[in-house]
Structure formats: C-alpha cells, structure tokens
Symmetry: C2
Subunit: 264 residues, 2 copies
C-alpha cells in the first residue's frame, strides 16, 4: 500500500475538519481520538473505528493498538510522521489517531446522580468535570444548549477517557427538569451551589438522589436554570476569595456525595 503523504488526501481532510469546528463533527457524527491511551480506552469500550492513521513514531504499545484494530478488521493506514504532526491537535503527536463515531453511552434505567453543565465554556474545565464524574460513577452529564462541545479535542484530552464511560447528553432546561423529576421513578433534588447560601455542603443530604448544577465561569447558573432549583448550598470557604474554579466546585460536590453515600 502506498503511504499517505498529501494533505489533499480525503482521510486527512476529514481528520482536519473533525479536529476543527463542532459543525463538522456533528455532520459526520464522528470524532478524532488522539494518542495511545485514549485509543486503547475507546477499543476497551467497544467503540467501532472508521479508520486509524499511524506514523513511524508509534511506540510498541501503540503498535499493539494498531494490531488490535486490524484484527477487528477495521482499517489502519500508515502516514508520514510530518503529516501526522501537522494535522494533530497536540504539538507532537504520539503517532496514532482514530476516527470513530461519536460515542453514545447508554443511560441506565435508574439514575440517582447527574451533573448539569449550564453554559460552561472552558474546554479544560469541562474535560476535568467529565473526568471526575466518570471517576465518581455519576449516572450522566447533561449539557444545556450553549455549553462547549464535549467532543472537541481539548475536552477529549482533559477528560482522559471519560467519554467512553459516562453518558453525555444535551438537553433543554425543560427536559432536564423532567429528567430529574419524572424519568427515573427516582426524584432528583436539583442543587445550586452559591457562596451566598448558608447551608454547607456537608450539612446537606447528598446521599439522596441529586442533580448538581454547574454554571458558567463568568456568569454562574443561568436564570432559566435557577427557576428549577430545589436547594441552594455552599462550599464553605474563607472570606479571602470570591469563588472556586467551576471544575473544582463541581468535583468537591461529587466527592461529598460519594463520601456521604459510602459512609452512610
């Protein structure tokens, strides 16, 4: 087989598009998975592979991933190192990337914990929250319209494989409300975190079914979302600072929920 060396190649063009604007990912219903570790995770999660591109730089561990992809009868093609670096979203590629369908993890019938990201814009924050949510085994991460794209390369990198473990869905505020109140047979209490609230996180029952809201970095939780809030709680802090980072605040609440559930 002749090695791909041209940026005009159709696969290369597709990869560049999928690493760019959200509309391309939505149109092709596909994403790019870069690096050995994420590729391993996607295979472990039985995500199919449209195709794999690798270069000479690939490690032995990466070579194992390519072998596995070929054994599954998916396509893997070698491209020149310079070309892979050029299309990669990272400075230096690890010598492997996959194009796969957008992962869509199924929702469990009964869900007793979700996180809602309400117009979070920072891909690092979003990826970090997805990572904690998967680690803390939450039932789903729900996004309101206007939130950053969870399948952008930066979010994928920060989430360290969470995309293959936890359901992610975009929903209107109305649908989030019915999800929390009707879908489950479980009623989730919708929690707003605000330093102005007097009820400390550790004084709040988080062992019951809960929905944790996380607002945008600049403006907090949106007015529409505030209308469906059941409880307002705070993470106590010294008066020196105004607030926590959004990913920190969300992660602390997921930790507190886990602590209460495991020590109950």
């Amino acid at each position: 087989m002749i090695m791909i060396t041209s940026v005009q190649n159709a696969k290369i063009k597709l990869v560049r598009e999928l690493l760019g604007a959200k509309k391309h990912r939505e149109k092709a219903r596909s994403i790019v998975i870069e690096g050995v570790r994420l590729a391993e995770e996607s295979l472990a999660a039985n995500l199919p592979v449209h195709f794999c591109l690798y270069s000479e730089r690939i490690s032995d561990r990466g070579r194992g991933v390519v072998d596995q992809i070929q054994a599954l009868s998916f396509e893997a093609e070698e491209i020149s190192e310079g070309l892979l670096d050029r299309i990669s979203d990272t400075k230096t590629s690890q010598g492997i990337l996959l194009v796969t369908p957008i992962p869509e993890i199924g929702l469990k019938t009964k869900i007793d914990s979700v996180v809602v990201l309400d117009k979070i814009r920072d891909p690092g924050n979003m990826g970090t929250i997805l990572r904690t949510a998967a680690a803390m085994d939450l039932g789903a991460v729900l996004l309101t319209p206007g939130t950053a794209d969870p399948f952008s390369p930066k979010v994928m990198r920060a989430a360290m494989g969470a995309h293959f473990r936890i359901p992610i869905r975009t929903m209107t505020v109305e649908d989030i409300h019915s999800f929390c109140k009707q879908r489950n047979g479980l009623e989730l209490s919708i929690l707003l975190t605000d330093t102005a609230c007097s009820q400390a996180s550790w004084e709040t029952d988080l062992a019951k079914p809960v929905c944790i809201l996380v607002g945008s970095e600049a403006d907090g939780v949106s007015p529409e979302m505030r209308e469906i809030v059941d409880e307002c709680i705070s993470i106590p802090m010294s008066s020196k600072m105004e607030s926590f980072n959004a990913a920190v605040s969300a992660s602390i609440l997921m930790y507190e929920m886990t602590r209460q559930r495991k020590t109950k």
Copy 2:
C-alpha cells in the same frame, strides 16, 4: 503628557519581557497584573505599584483603579488601545495593567496546613490549586524546584487573586521536610495521595496539622519527595478511571481537611 504609542518605549519593553520568560520576572523582581479585578485585589493587598498603563477602553470601574493609583502617588500612564492589546497576554485587554514587585506574603508563625506542588507543570492546574488553597485558608503553598513559575500570566489569571492572599515559596525537598517537622512547633503529617493506597481520605484524620503533596500531571510525586511521606491515602473512585486531575485531587483534600476541622 504625550501618550505612549511605540513598542520601543522602555515601559512597553519591560511589560513584554515580564509577560514572557520567568528569568525576566526574576531579574526585575517584578510581575504584570492584568485586568480590573486583579488590579483591585493587588491594591487591596497593599502591593506597591511600579507603574500602571491604561487605554481608552478602560471601564468606569477600571478608571476608579487608576484614580486610586494616582491618589497613592504611583504613576499611571495612558497608552493607545492597539498597543495595549498587542502587549497583553489575553486576546482583548481590559484596558489596564500594573507592573508591581513580586508579591511576598508573610508566613504566619504557626502553620497547621500546607500544600506542596512537586513539579506541577500546567499553569491552569497550578493557578486553580492556588485559588483553592487561598479559599480554604491554607498556611502556605510550597513549590519544589522544577515546578512551573507561579507568577506567569496564565497562573496569575487562573488563581484569581490568590497570589495576594497566600504565601508562596520555592523550597528543596530537604527544606520542605524541616518546614513540616521543625519550623512550627507543630508537626505536619506529610500526606501522599495515591489510588493504590487503601486508607480513604474520609477515614484519615485531616484535622491534625497536615502537608498535602501534589505530584506532576504525568509522573506523580517525585521519588525524593516520596521518601519523606508519612501517610498514604486515597480518594475513593470507581474502577472506571485511573486518576483525578491534579488540581481536583488537591482541592478535594483541602475540602476534606476543612470539613473535618469545621465539624470536629
């Protein structure tokens, strides 16, 4: 006074240097503080101002900061909007920046909690940890050699004013050890967080004086640092993920410490 419009101006040159490599900040013992909020915080912390540069774009709130700086007899000079945008570390400047000495917050005599950042490289993670440490009122943040510069523009932005609230010091592992064991009259227990450890964070006494270690994103806590560890603890998580983000893990432990101390 004639408005500064040239990149060749000595002040402009200094600002560009201070927003660049660490060596320039170290040589001049100075930093750049960008934006209205951080400028307000630095004044509230009584940090002196070498000089302030502002442009026409400045908000009323920013204008108040300039007035305050002039009332304190520090220098404030208008520069063209295009020039300020050009030298700014952000895409669009808020129309104000200060050059100040590197803030050096004094250490209290008795300190019963510190965080050690051991070769953390990501400025976003570092800034986020500083922000949580100030919010949770820790005694100090100690950095080992090889850790990212806490006064780089990205760290400053992510820390949201923590630099003016909490002492930050770089120390060798040896000095960190004596700091924890001898300095205080208090003996701090040095805690390593590792998913391999069986003792859960909430089963560990964190109300006692503690030193929380945070290792690098890629390699964790360094071997030299591991030699002085007293206790190994873990933040329990599902088997789905390998680890938490470094800033999340550090923040959760600071939260757990605060929770135990306030509910004791």
